[in-house]
């Protein structure tokens, strides 16, 4: 049965898809036929990347990114690899379930397993959908800003970038056809930034406060009133987003 293969895969090292190729090579057992290469430069053991997420499963990571995305005023970097891992896993799991369902000899006990596996798949799919929709919502909202800003474009996937630029173009054309074409040309711009009023291009407001929860002890951060704050693990605080932006990016805190 495929269940057991899946289990073996998981037991063998967290599942093939979960670690990158490099990670697997690094963790590989030394082969018998691998002679030590004498002239290899002696280097200290590879420094592990700063990964506070080490003991997090892919699903836990996705949940963290999903909540961060929901609570964050800005668009966070896309987690494409993680999504691929999770989607692959869902696909494998649903194939297994399908196989077992079609098998007439499947026992009553197996039905409980199937039911639980299906329940879990629905839960995970809900999270995946909600995560993608949250990004989609922000991309639509800031589409015209994304078109002009290279930095935020780097945080999107190719598909998201494509969507943003098409959406912005359609919106511009619509506004032009409905209203702007009948206005005098000097009032027909969509990107004026006159003083005293906000710019016409909606930008993520990084001063919006967020609730942060420190996952580990964090380096001191500078608060808007000039004082420094050093968050211990487990600390919960309400601060403007730009103050903790770097900590969120490094995964040292999560938004709650």
């Amino acid at each position: 049965m495929d269940w057991d293969e899946e289990y073996d895969l998981l037991a063998a090292g967290g599942g093939a898809a979960e670690s990158s190729f490099i990670e697997r090579v690094r963790n590989a057992l030394p082969d018998d036929d691998d002679l030590p290469i004498p002239d290899a430069p002696r280097r200290p053991a590879p420094i592990p990347l700063a990964q506070p997420t080490e003991d997090e499963t892919p699903l836990q990571q996705l949940i963290r990114h999903w909540i961060n995305e929901r609570n964050c005023p800005d668009i966070l970097p896309a987690q494409e690899e993680l999504l691929v891992t999770i989607l692959d896993h869902i696909r494998r799991q649903s194939q297994t379930v399908q196989l077992l369902r079609d098998d007439a000899s499947t026992s009553e006990d197996e039905h409980v397993r199937i039911m639980l596996a299906q329940t879990e798949m629905e839960r995970v799919k809900f999270i995946v959908r909600s995560y993608i929709r949250t990004r989609q919502y922000k991309i639509d909202k800031y589409a015209r800003f994304i078109r002009t800003d290279a930095e935020v474009q780097r945080r999107l996937t190719a598909g998201e970038r494509d969507h943003a630029s098409r959406y912005a173009n359609i919106l511009d054309r619509h506004l032009y056809k409905c209203v702007l074409q009948s206005l005098p040309p000097e009032q027909a711009h969509l990107d004026d930034s006159p003083g005293f009023v906000p710019s016409m291009i909606t930008q993520p407001d990084k001063t919006r406060p967020v609730f942060v929860h420190a996952l580990q002890d964090c380096p001191p951060i500078r608060l808007p009133d000039g004082t420094a704050l050093e968050m211990q693990k487990g600390h919960i605080s309400l601060v403007p987003y730009y103050v903790v932006e770097q900590l969120v990016a490094r995964g040292e805190v999560e938004l709650v």
């Binding site: 269940w3 899946e6 289990y7 895969l9 998981l10 037991a11 499963t57 699903l59 836990q60 949940i63 909540i67 929901r70 609570n71 999770i86 896993h89 869902i90 799991q93 006990d109 409980v112 397993r113 039911m115 639980l116 596996a117 329940t119 879990e120 798949m121 839960r123 995970v124 809900f126 999270i127 909600s130 929709r133 949250t134 989609q136 919502y137 639509d140 001063t207 919006r208 406060p209 967020v210 609730f211 929860h213 608060l223 808007p224 009133d225 004082t227 704050l229 600390h235 919960i236 605080s237 309400l238 601060v239 403007p240 103050v243 709650v256």
Partner: protein
């Protein structure tokens, strides 16, 4: 739009419940099951008289089909909550409770109240705790400024509850703060 209006400001309580139900909990299974790989990890094997650890959602699912008993977490009993309620009313800070205690206690009381000792007493203690903590939250609003507000031991459901108002207030204070340098 991609995201419904009601979901834009913050997470909803059912979503918090979904997240909380990923946490592990102990059960005493009434059916046996081989060790099985799920997306969140491998669970089992379930052997009837022995305890096993599974995610809460799985425990609830099995419980509602009468296929297991749930072992209450160590904090979900009358003595512990009584103690915390005592601290809550006698000390100024928030007492130390699990981050997602509100969600977990709700689902367990809903589905598995027969596995808990004295569920009615637990319910009323939780309600008292909630009210005591809520009052402190409201007092906390007085100390809000434009830069930072520390909220040790606040739990996820409470954060979600105060979020819209606190975020809006602090945002407004930030905007007011920014005015002086730009004005002549």
């Amino acid at each position: 739009m991609a995201l419904q209006e009601s979901l834009r400001v913050s997470l909803t309580p059912p979503e918090l419940e979904l997240i909380a139900c990923q946490q592990p909990i102990e059960i005493v299974p009434l059916i046996s099951m081989e060790r099985t790989a799920f997306i969140s990890g491998a669970y089992g094997p379930l052997r009837p008289p022995h305890k096993a650890t599974v995610p809460i959602w799985m425990a609830l699912n099995l419980k509602s089909k009468k296929k297991c008993h749930i072992v209450a977490p160590e904090w979900l009993n009358v003595e512990f909550l009584q103690d915390r309620l005592g601290r809550e009313t006698s000390q100024p800070g928030f007492s130390d409770l699990p981050f997602r205690f509100a969600e977990v206690s709700k689902v367990l009381l809903d589905v598995a109240s027969d596995d808990l000792e004295n569920p009615d007493k637990i319910r009323s203690l939780l309600k008292n705790l909630r009210e005591a903590r809520q009052a402190k939250c409201r007092d906390g609003l007085g100390t809000l400024d434009h830069s930072e507000l520390s909220l040790p031991n606040l739990c996820s459901m409470e954060i979600n509850e105060i979020r819209p108002f606190f975020v809006q207030s602090m945002h407004l204070l930030t905007q007011l703060q920014r005015q002086p340098p730009t004005a002549p």
